[in-house]
């Protein structure tokens, strides 16, 4: 558990937004230090503009830090070759499934990554089949991506990363554009990747109930990490989360408002807590 996979050391990232005659500098990430360990499932929470998406893009050398360093297994992306090496370790899934699928057939799209890595055709075939099976999309392998639902497309995108056999997968709000059913499909897939295949997961999200499922929650606000810890520890600080413009899961909030135990995470816990107060009546 303690082997580091991604390490942020005092990272600052500044966007340069060009106005008509001046260049405005907008810092998106400010002096962030963060370590992601191998095999971990980390959720990064934050409201819009908190810098969480920028953090994701710093993970696999899409963005270069303005100050500080990002190390992936000890590699710093100072050249294009090294950036490429990092992208073989850290894969990425984006928010909009339509904008990350490159081929007109599902299996061809999953094969895209391994093909870029120059892997043997027979081995690609094997990896593509395995990857599609592990996201339960094997039966759809000959379909056209635009005829799939959002959740299915997003699972194809995840399969595309699995087929590259990266050790870590960063998901940048993968469920933001999906309906509740699609969100469920994707979250189950992500959890299975982490638990069964041992892939390190960094999930960027603004859904509390998704963050609850992680091993560790990192809360960002205004480009800084403001809270960090186990979901239970983080969600017991309701007022502090509100100050960051975030809501807490409904069950947590209910128990908080009722003045019951803090740090309740799901409906079951909430029910048992309330029934305890009522003297076991429920």
């Amino acid at each position: 558990m303690s082997e580091k996979i991604i390490e942020f050391k005092n990272v600052t990232f500044v966007y340069e937004a060009e106005e008509e005659d001046s260049v405005e500098k907008i810092p998106a990430v400010k002096d962030v230090s963060l370590t992601i360990n191998k095999g971990e499932f980390v959720a990064v929470l934050g409201h819009n503009g908190s810098g969480k998406s920028t953090l994701a893009k710093l993970c696999n050398a899409i963005y270069e830090p303005t100050e500080g360093t990002v190390e992936v297994k000890g590699i710093v992306a100072d050249t294009e070759e090294k950036a490429d090496e990092i992208r073989r370790i850290v894969g990425m899934v984006f928010q909009n499934p339509d904008n990350q699928i490159v081929a007109t057939i599902v299996e061809d799209d999953v094969a895209f990554g391994p093909e870029n890595l120059g892997i043997e055709p027979a081995e690609i075939r094997r990896r593509v089949d395995d990857a599609l099976k592990s996201v339960n999309m094997y039966d759809f392998r000959h379909r056209e991506p635009h005829k799939l639902s959002g959740g299915q497309k997003q699972r194809v995108a995840i399969a595309g990363v699995i087929a590259m056999q990266t050790e870590c997968i960063v998901l940048d709000e993968p469920t933001a554009m999906l309906d509740p059913m699609g969100r469920d499909e994707v979250m189950q897939t992500v959890k299975r990747l982490n638990e069964e295949m041992g892939i390190t997961v960094v999930l960027i999200t603004h859904f509390m109930d998704e963050a609850v499922q992680a091993d560790r929650v990192v809360v960002m606000d205004d480009g800084k990490i403001v809270m960090q810890g186990k979901p239970r520890e983080v969600f017991s600080q309701v007022e502090k989360l509100r100050a960051c413009g975030l809501d807490v899961p409904q069950s947590t909030e209910l128990c908080h408002v009722l003045g019951l135990k803090e740090g309740i995470l799901d409906v079951d816990e909430c029910v048992s807590e309330i029934s305890k107060v009522l003297g076991g009546a429920v």
Partner: protein, 271 residues
């Protein structure tokens, strides 16, 4: 409704024609088109027509669909037939009135040209009925790969074609969405003269352009994340391999060509 869009006119199937190597299909289609123009006599053209019908039957594409592909050329067919009948003169005269005369040669040429055009269209649409656009793009990439010698970026061109094909349905969906959004705000897209209607399209195309650029930008990110660095050092999952049936198809086409040449020599030319 939009989800049902299929790009190109691929008709899914498992016939011999479907399973032929797309490279071979592409080359043979071009070769047959040339052969169609080599035909000089009715017999040689008949041979080709027979082969065309045979290929259509082999493809198991419903005849209705094949006839549908002929629909857009009906006007061209009629037009060429009329021109040929009136302007080609010679042989027996069937009909004469004032300046107009219809002769044997005219009628023959008209029929000959019509059969020729029909064969041409059927053969080329059989190619697109039995091959997906992706397979065609792949075949073109592989066939053109020797051009790398001249520093032509064949892979890049093929990748652009694939991406264009991939994004056609996505962009159509987007247009639909934008049109509905603008209609909801009271945009009138259906009435008025041609200029007014063209003007009404501006608020559709500007958002479309903006979002397409954003998509392109994100797509480029996604491709970089998946280690895409161009064609160098890339492998392919699906290898194209020529099988027995490909050589059989080649043999049939060579035989056809030989047949056409022989028939041309021994029988009277129409054209």
């Amino acid at each position: 409704m939009i989800r049902e869009i299929t790009i190109g006119q691929y008709y899914p199937g498992k016939s011999v024609l479907h399973r032929l190597d797309p490279r071979m299909k592409l080359v043979l289609t071009f070769a047959l088109i040339v052969v169609i123009f080599l035909c000089k006599s009715f017999l040689s053209l008949g041979l080709i027509a027979l082969a065309t019908v045979g290929a259509a039957a082999l493809s198991k594409v419903p005849p209705k669909m094949i006839l549908k592909s002929l629909k857009p050329i009906v006007i061209i067919l009629i037009f060429t037939a009329i021109l040929n009948i009136f302007y080609t003169q010679g042989g027996k005269t069937y009909f004469e009135w004032w300046e107009i005369s219809i002769t044997e040669k005219g009628v023959n040429t008209a029929i000959f040209t019509m059969i020729r055009i029909v064969c041409l269209v059927v053969i080329s649409s059989l190619l697109t009925y039995t091959t997906t656009p992706t397979m065609l793009t792949d075949a073109i990439e592989r066939l053109l790969s020797p051009l790398k010698v001249f520093k032509i970026k064949v892979h890049t061109l093929a990748m652009m074609m694939t991406l264009a094909l991939r994004f056609i349905p996505t962009l159509i969906e987007e247009i639909d969405r934008i049109m509905n959004a603008q209609k909801a705000r009271g945009a009138d897209l259906e009435t008025g003269g041609i200029i007014q209607r063209a003007k009404a399209l501006v608020p559709i195309f500007i958002p479309l352009m903006v979002s397409s650029f954003r998509r392109a930008y994100e797509l480029a990110f996604a491709m970089t994340c998946r280690c895409y660095t161009g064609g160098e050092g890339r492998t392919r999952m699906k290898q194209m391999k020529l099988a027995g049936r490909d050589f059989a198809a080649l043999f049939v086409c060579v035989a056809l060509t030989a047949g056409v040449i022989v028939l041309n020599i021994f029988f009277e030319a129409v054209i």
